[in-house]
Symmetry: C2
């Protein structure tokens, strides 16, 4: 298929007809927030855990994905008996503003009866995403989230939640993230954006009517991003220089070499499968939001001021081989929280799996996250001390 | 301009009408080797230094580039009074086989009167490049090179020279290189190749007739490669998160953000200027050659056997912040040379400039290289001991 087959999927969502005023000053006339929940909200409405997804993730954190048929994307973390235990917590996961899985984004019509926004979708920020999420949390009648948890761009949202709505966040777990996007990360994103906008099917972002999406450009964007998610060690262990005797799909390589390296075939698969579930304009809008993110700049350059007087309990987690969001960036968050006299623990988990580790079955991540949330649950009175 | 304006440039070259048999088994019916020389060959023909260029380099190592008008690409290293002193040495620099600056490559006609090779150019290896270079060295009447020096892909050629023609190499200096291309490096190259072949102008590699080159794809390939040449530190210091108030060239970004990050503008410049001097089919062929490179595999997996009995003097140089060819890969070369009882020194130069450091003015590189070559010149009898 060429365009994501979203027709048949009725994403669960809430619609806010008064829309949303964005950081850029523009007013979105209507706001749809698509989400999924798992477990039950308790009578006190005090056991809600918000999971924030990453750049290309979505709200289907705890179930089979309706488009790809793949299993839950954070299966090791969210579910019955898991660190984010759906038998104890009411888990909410929200498709970000600007996304393509039901929340308001570039695929939506600008106004009823008009063409889709496409590349004219207003620029959004991580704070805009969090504001949209808060609308849903308010709508669900939840005045305080027990925890906000997320990795990568999800971690940026965790930080923004804790800074913007401190009284609403009892515990915050930013994983494999940073309080600003580095020059190198911006550069990698820009390569992906150039690949998308260079695709003739992009048609200045108005490709929905033609049915021809810029899938080649989007696949290249996904491929370059995917390399940054892995460590050199992980790539070497997984593929090394192993050859694969398949015929390559591009004319050039058929002529040049009959064999290809397994890592090439893997990347091509990653690129090609991605385009069937993701919208290129969403990719542009969300990568822009990540690049713009600089939480300290919202507080006169002093990150600790973002957390002044906070009573939120923080657990900051990084992975040793993550070169996209290296440990020193997590340490800077922990330092700022210390300066703000916040309750914070910081853990660097030893792993050779790179940034991807936060999505994989890392026993240490399960242990650290589970232990931290259990302790917080005790303090929040969600569970009784059975020692 | 769209196609490199190569018409008016008469590259200095030698033509070998018997052609060249390649590693893949194919026979190139004719071989042209384009080159430049600097300094004078002495009467004993013993003072020749071969400089091997990197992926996108060329033979214009010591003079203004005829296409770009830029200065010599290794100005700090090659020239009068420089470490590779053109007042003492006869310096030769050769456009690699598969290149686009005069040596036989994809831009050449398959046979007189036929269409250019394009993407049908036979797959080449680093060893094929070195074999082509040896033809020129023989042609110049040089039986032993005083030194072979090169960085990155140039370093791969240095290693291949020392392994394949040990009696012809008195001294060898592989800089910022490896004896095999890693899975991560193959992956980054593959992203570039996908960007090129996805460009509709690529036309299965037969774009010369149309005059429309796959410049958007080639620019993306250059951009992603360029990120890997720099360190995170260098990017942060150079650009950080500084914004630039220019209008962006793509429609998407005009709508999304008026400002762009300086690093984006820089990358776009790098990508766009590259396409005016480089051929996309050459980029495909040469990146393939680098990816295929695995010197140990030519010697039953034991790199030390590549250098068995060698009398060449080696100086292996790496840079501390180079993550494309990290120090541990240079150390592996030094270890294999030690195992082969070769004369080897190994230096890791502290620099925060990433892989790019080998092309920049690094005083330590000048000192190490100059000192090593001076010592070798003494042993080779090129200069008298004036102590």
């Amino acid at each position: 298929m060429d365009l994501p087959e979203q027709g048949p999927i009725a994403h669960q969502s809430a619609v806010f007809t008064d829309g949303l005023v964005l950081d850029c000053g523009q007013h979105l006339p209507s706001l749809t927030v698509a989400y999924r929940t798992y477990g039950a909200l308790n009578a006190q409405r005090s056991n809600a855990v918000l999971i924030c997804h990453a750049l290309t993730g979505d709200q289907y954190v705890g179930e089979t994905h309706p488009l790809t048929g793949k299993g839950p994307w954070w299966d090791h973390i969210v579910g019955p008996g898991r660190p984010v235990d759906t038998e104890r917590y009411f888990v909410i996961c929200i498709n970000v503003l600007g996304g393509c899985m039901g929340s308001t984004g570039p695929m939506d019509d600008r106004a009823p009866g008009e063409a889709p926004w496409g590349a004219d979708f207003p620029p959004i920020t991580i704070r805009d995403m969090v504001r949209a999420q808060k609308r849903l949390i308010d709508h669900l009648g939840i005045t305080r989230l027990f925890a906000v948890v997320g990795g990568s761009m999800g971690g940026m949202q965790v930080l923004e939640w804790a800074a913007t709505y401190p009284e609403m966040v009892f515990a915050a777990v930013p994983v494999a993230t940073a309080f600003y996007h580095s020059a190198q990360n911006i550069a990698f994103h820009e390569v992906g954006r150039q690949a998308i906008t260079a695709d003739p099917n992009f048609a200045a972002g108005q490709y929905y009517a033609s049915g021809r999406t810029p899938k080649d450009g989007l696949a290249v964007a996904r491929m370059v991003a995917h390399i940054t998610y892995l460590s050199e060690e992980a790539l070497s262990r997984k593929f090394g220089r192993k050859l694969q005797g398949t015929t390559r799909p591009t004319p050039h390589s058929l002529a040049l070499f009959g064999d290809m390296f397994e890592v090439e075939s893997y990347l091509q698969y990653q690129g090609n499968s991605f385009v069937n579930r993701f919208d290129a304009n969403s990719y542009l809008a969300i990568t822009r939001a990540m690049d713009q993110f600089d939480l300290a700049s919202e507080y006169d350059g002093d990150l600790s001021r973002a957390f002044a007087g906070t009573r939120t309990r923080f657990c900051v987690i990084s992975f040793s081989s993550d070169w996209l969001f290296p440990t020193h960036e997590s340490r800077a968050i922990a330092r700022a929280l210390n300066k703000a006299a916040a309750n914070v623990s910081f853990v660097e988990i030893t792993s050779d799996k790179g940034h991807d580790a936060f999505l994989l079955d890392e026993p240490d991540l399960r242990r650290v996250l589970g232990g931290f949330l259990n302790g917080c649950a005790l303090h929040a009175g969600l569970v009784e001390d059975d020692r």
